[in-house]
């Protein structure tokens, strides 16, 4: 079997269709499991009471917003550098899901900030840089929508996506670099997490659910994009025949 053949959009289309349920079903199961652990097993926090339970969606959503941005930039960059159509289409398919997770992280953060900080929003380093991330996604999506020629749209999007990558480490390290209202990292790459085991478990299960969900919706959107471009190309060929 030659795996390279799947780099062709027409070959990838049916494969993506077959893969979707393998991600969608486990995603739904893990969402349910994460909610169960988060609400039935994880104890009430001694400082924040039950308000902290927003963490189970807030943190995974914020991570996904950042991960998906980097992934989108990588796909866009590969598509641009190697003229790989499918890779560029993948970047376009990721953008909306990434933007939605970023929006969820901002809104759930506001819902968490109001009762614990006394405000829905502050122009704090982490929140401001996350808002910029949302604007970068919006810029990528509208830039691509504004250009008719799909390959030119891919290249323009790639430039924007790659320049914007600089924002991701800024978000990540903002809590260390600036004096901020936002709390520091709960999970550390080195060293112990500063969180109780069931809370951590719920958060990680929700993160896994978010990943699987993202793969399912991104593949499904990728199929739409492939179909749209094929249809447009066919129509173009017909008109110019």
């Amino acid at each position: 079997m030659n795996l390279y053949k799947y780099a062709s959009p027409t070959m990838f289309y049916p494969l993506a269709g077959k893969l979707i349920p393998w991600f969608a079903v486990p995603a739904a199961l893990l969402f349910a499991a994460g909610m169960y652990v988060g609400f039935f097993i994880a104890p009430t926090d001694f400082q924040q009471g039950d308000a902290y339970r927003i963490i189970f969606i807030h943190v995974p959503a914020a991570w996904m917003g950042m991960f998906l941005y980097v992934l989108m930039a990588i796909y866009a960059g590969i598509g641009w550098a190697f003229n790989a159509r499918l890779s560029s289409m993948m970047a376009s398919a990721i953008a909306i899901t990434g933007a939605m997770f970023t929006l969820v992280s901002l809104v759930t953060g506001a819902f968490w900030g109001k009762p614990t900080w006394g405000t829905w929003w502050v122009w704090d380093a982490r929140m401001t840089s996350t808002l910029i991330l949302l604007f970068l996604y919006a810029g990528f999506i509208s830039l691509q929508a504004a250009i008719d020629d799909p390959r030119r749209a891919d290249r323009a999007g790639a430039v924007l996506a790659l320049v914007g990558v600089i924002n991701v480490p800024i978000i990540y390290f903002s809590v260390q670099w600036w004096n901020t209202l936002h709390q520091g990292a709960t999970i550390r790459i080195l060293g112990k997490p500063t969180i109780a085991a069931p809370m951590l478990a719920a958060m990680l299960i929700m993160l896994a659910a978010c990943w699987l969900y993202s793969v399912a919706v991104v593949l499904s959107r990728l199929r739409c994009i492939i179909l749209e471009r094929e249809q447009n190309a066919a129509r173009f060929a017909e008109v110019n025949a």
Partner: protein, 64 residues
């Protein structure tokens, strides 16, 4: 297992608001994707002449 207090110790609006917003976003994304696909497939049916290769079901395998 303990049944959680639905009022979330007074934070119910914020906790359930967060999850409700997330649910709305997910439902919106899934429904709009279905819609997008439906429109595309309908466009296929209307003019099968320009049926793109992805839907022809042929596996034009060049290598084994």
């Amino acid at each position: 297992m303990h049944w959680p207090d639905l009022s979330m110790g007074g934070y119910g609006f914020y906790v359930w608001g967060s999850y409700l917003f997330t649910l709305i976003v997910i439902v919106w994304e899934v429904v709009s994707l279905r819609q997008r696909k439906k429109v595309l497939l309908k466009r296929e049916e209307r003019s099968p002449a320009m049926r793109p290769t992805v839907l022809r079901g042929s596996t034009n395998e060049t290598t084994s």
